[in-house]
């Protein structure tokens, strides 16, 4: 196991041993001391992992809000709050701190001025200032809006719980809990650090994938039981889409398993640490497949057909309200978070710091930091997709899944098999260093080549600014005849 300065599991075990010895150990059931300590340790670790995930989930929501704000070139609610003292064209409507008695506002004014000058946005890149200089002069590192989601949660709790009159009430009530419970169960086997996991099972990846694919059932329940045409369509879409993307997902994960030689998630990470190469440099195709499939699995743009708000109002959760809606919304983010963490573990070496062996003193940083940083970094891609892409149609989603992702994932599995069987140096237990370099550079070159999708002939003939023109079936690369 990797050395970590946070030996959380060891500490908890020590504490629980102490507790157990001093309670059970003193009683006539002393022979159960060890079992009770083990049980308490597992329980405590479960609680801590769950707490850690739920707390850091706020970061995801906050990141989504802020990154989208940046991508979309807008500012959030803080803009209007700041406009209390920052007016249009930089003219203040009145500096409220000067009106406080006895000059108590002077420090506020000085602080505000200093902050704005030192760390305020230079508002050269901001659309708001381009438009009318109704600008945001705030300080970004104060994490504005971080606790907005808590306020949202409070609001959901105050809402009335409504069930449609003709809904199938039992199924309607069960569906959200089915979704949420299975989502939370995913985190049982996701380690947050080398000594920070709730369970180290030999078959953890299998369990993870099994649990991860129960949620579509709940989605379909929700869509069916609401007795609403929109939710029904959303539920059916969701079932079709998730089934279609479950298979490439499993095959992709299988390729990681083949490469690492274990169904145990912790051992997969350990393999990456020991062999010295992260899986992404060996299976770049697998990484791309995994993130694409995961976007579809967690139903985010561009694959959010089941809840396409333009035509299906809110898809399969249209009829839910209040905290049930809030929990389902949270479960979407939990699934996204699970996807990000799994990506970090499968492909980015889990808790291993980049260049851990070469950078001095880097191992003093707790490994849990790297897990979260990698997961959040992957989440940036999810937000980026959402900001930059449009929604794909149902038939296009299914076509993409069955006709492209499934064959590609099989190719990826074959690659993984070849790498493991014939390339991996079983004696020294590490990868020949040329292999990841070669694979990565070839993949990058391919990516650049495939990104150039402009068809010069079509451009010439159509006097259109961009490439793709079609006659009837819209598919990229085919130009209008």
């Amino acid at each position: 196991m990797t050395e970590d300065i946070i030996n959380m599991r060891g500490w908890v075990r020590t504490a629980m041993d102490f507790v157990s010895e001093n309670t059970i150990g003193m009683s006539r059931h002393w022979e159960y001391t060890d079992s009770v300590a083990w049980f308490l340790t597992e329980f405590m670790m479960c609680v801590m992992v769950f707490g850690g995930i739920m707390t850091t989930l706020l970061v995801l929501l906050w990141m989504e809000r802020k990154l989208l704000g940046r991508f979309m070139d807008r500012r959030g609610a803080r803009t209007s709050l700041r406009s209390l003292w920052v007016g249009e064209n930089g003219v203040t409507a009145g500096e409220w701190w000067t009106q406080l008695p006895f000059g108590t506002g002077i420090p506020i004014g000085m602080l505000n001025k200093a902050l704005n000058e030192i760390a305020g946005n230079d508002h050269k890149l901001e659309a708001v200032s381009r438009v009318k200089n109704r600008s945001y002069h705030g300080v970004w590192w104060l994490l504005p809006g971080f606790f907005q989601n808590l306020a949202d949660g409070m609001k959901f709790l105050t809402k009335e719980h409504m069930v449609p009159e003709k809904a199938d009430r039992y199924v309607f009530e069960i569906a959200p809990f089915l979704i949420i419970a299975t989502t939370v169960m995913c985190f049982t086997f996701i380690p947050l650090g080398p000594n920070f996991h709730s369970n180290n099972s030999e078959m953890s990846i299998l369990f993870l994938m099994a649990v991860f694919s129960v949620a579509p059932l709940g989605v379909f329940f929700a869509g069916w039981s609401s007795n609403n045409k929109y939710t029904l369509l959303g539920g059916i879409r969701s079932a079709a889409q998730l089934t279609a993307y479950e298979i490439p997902l499993l095959v992709t994960v299988l390729s990681v398993v083949v490469l690492s030689g274990s169904f145990n998630l912790i051992e997969v990470i350990e393999f990456q640490v020991d062999s010295g190469v992260w899986n992404i440099f060996l299976l770049p195709l697998g990484a791309v497949l995994f993130i694409v499939v995961m976007v579809a699995e967690v139903e985010r743009i561009p694959f959010d057909m089941p809840e396409a708000e333009a035509e299906l109002v809110e898809g399969w959760w249209t009829e839910y309200g209040g905290m049930r809606w809030g929990l389902m919304f949270a479960s979407e983010y939990l699934r996204t978070y699970a996807a990000c963490l799994l990506f970090a573990h499968f492909f980015l070496g889990g808790w291993e710091a980049p260049f851990e062996d070469t950078i001095p003193f880097i191992h003093y940083i707790p490994h849990i930091t790297w897990v979260f940083l990698k997961a959040w970094f992957i989440f940036i891609f999810f937000v980026w997709f959402r900001a930059a892409l449009h929604r794909v149609r149902t038939d296009q989603i299914l076509e993409f899944g069955w006709r492209w992702l499934l064959p590609l994932s099989l190719v990826n599995l074959a690659m993984a098999t070849v790498l493991r069987l014939w390339v991996y140096d079983g004696v020294k237990e590490e990868w020949p260093i040329l292999v990841p370099i070669l694979i990565t550079s070839i993949s990058l070159a391919l990516f650049v080549l495939l990104s150039i999708d402009e068809d010069p002939k079509a451009l010439e003939a159509q006097t259109r600014p961009f490439s793709v023109q079609t006659v009837d079936v819209a598919s990229p690369g085919q130009h209008r005849k």
Binding site: L68, V313, L389
Partner: protein, 378 residues
């Protein structure tokens, strides 16, 4: 699979307003559609019968909240036809500037609404960002942000404010750069292309027969434009051509309708820039309020039984006002005001257009025709 009717509306993200589209679907495929309008019918035509000719402009502004200026101008040209009023040339230029700025703002509003229709919120925010600039310019002209009440019978409310041309040029220059951002976001996105291309085919002759006009017809490959076919204002003095798209053999699809509007925004921006250069000087932009030359005509023309109408190139197609003078109080009011709304005719056609496509294409097709319910229901 069994067919079922879905009632999309009156409150539905696809509708862009208050109306109902009843869709009969077979699984995911649209089999039949039926639009149902009238949710915000205010009876503007009846109200106008109790208002005099200057008061009606205010109501025309409120016909379409996305394109207020074009509607009040459409009315003003009809009223001038009825009342036989000449307009100073400078006023005509100012009107042209106001209308074309409004056309840009309206198209931006359309594009801003179209991006969420195909699932992207970024485009909406970007478009509304640039729309702010147009709104600010129009605010300088009309004094309010949305309903300007800018034109007058025989001129415009007031002359251009000092420095307007400078600010207008600067903002339009910035705007022309920004259009490239939209194109980078939309045209270069394969997903946008596969969502819009090959979807919602409409042929030019069929559209004309159905009464659809404006950008939708120009997207189908014919440069018919009321601005040259039934000329008004100062468009002959500007160097411009209506933007026209090259459709596919099956007709224009949603992508063509998107392209033509983007090109039209460019076209309008260059028209405004040119108009600002060519605008004649002088301060004569309107007839004095209560000008006897106009007031006398109201009764005189009504007694002759004259009517006035004017075809106007609205940002959504050909709009028209038909005015009959000689209402109550000896002709101070019109006897009958009739409004031709382009979207009232286009919505049934768009609803026909989406038969055979998927449910997911409904917002893409309906949005591409640029529906505006304020003018539709009147």
């Amino acid at each position: 699979m069994a067919e079922m009717w879905i009632s999309m509306g009156p409150q539905h993200p696809m509708t862009h307003g208050l109306w109902t589209l009843k869709v009969k679907v077979d699984g995911e495929t649209v089999v039949d559609t039926e639009p149902d309008l009238g949710y915000i019918h205010r009876g503007v035509e009846k109200i106008c019968e109790a208002r005099d000719f200057t008061q009606i402009t205010t109501y025309c502004d409120r016909l379409c909240y996305a394109s207020a200026n074009t509607w009040s101008h459409a009315y003003i040209y009809a009223a001038e036809d009825l009342l036989d009023v000449e307009v100073p040339e400078r006023a005509e230029y100012i009107r042209m500037v106001a209308v074309e700025l409004q056309r840009i703002a309206s198209h931006l509003m359309w594009l801003g609404a179209y991006c969420p229709d195909v699932g992207n919120l970024t485009g909406m925010v970007w478009c509304l960002r640039e729309r702010e600039m147009m709104m600010d310019l129009l605010q300088e002209l009309g004094g309010s942000r949305m309903h300007y009440n800018f034109p007058r019978v025989g001129g415009v409310k007031r002359d251009l404010p000092i420095g307007f041309a400078m600010r207008c040029r600067a903002k339009l220059k910035l705007f022309l750069d920004r259009i490239q951002e939209y194109e980078a976001l939309l045209d270069e996105s394969t997903i946008f292309l596969i969502r819009t291309q090959g979807v919602g085919y409409a042929k030019a002759e069929e559209m004309i027969n159905h009464g659809v006009s404006g950008p939708n017809v120009r997207a189908a490959g014919h440069n018919y434009d009321v601005r040259w076919a039934h000329p008004y204002s100062v468009y002959d003095e500007l160097d411009w051509e209506p933007s026209v798209e090259r459709p596919s053999i099956k007709g224009s699809d949603c992508y063509d309708r998107y392209r033509v509007r983007v090109e039209e925004m460019r076209q309008s921006a260059s028209m405004v820039l040119e108009g600002l250069d060519k605008m004649p000087g002088g301060s004569e932009t309107y007839h004095e309020p209560g000008d006897p030359a106009i007031l006398a005509k109201v009764r005189e023309r009504a007694a002759e039984g004259k009517t006035g109408y004017h075809h106007f190139e609205d940002s959504r197609g050909e709009s028209m006002f038909y005015l009959v003078g000689g209402g109550e109080k000896r002709g101070k009011h019109p006897y009958r005001v009739s409004i031709r709304s382009p979207m009232f005719i286009t919505i049934p056609y768009a609803a026909k257009c989406m038969i055979g496509y998927k449910i997911a294409d409904i917002p893409a097709i309906m949005g591409s025709f640029d529906p505006c319910i304020g003018e539709t229901d009147r």
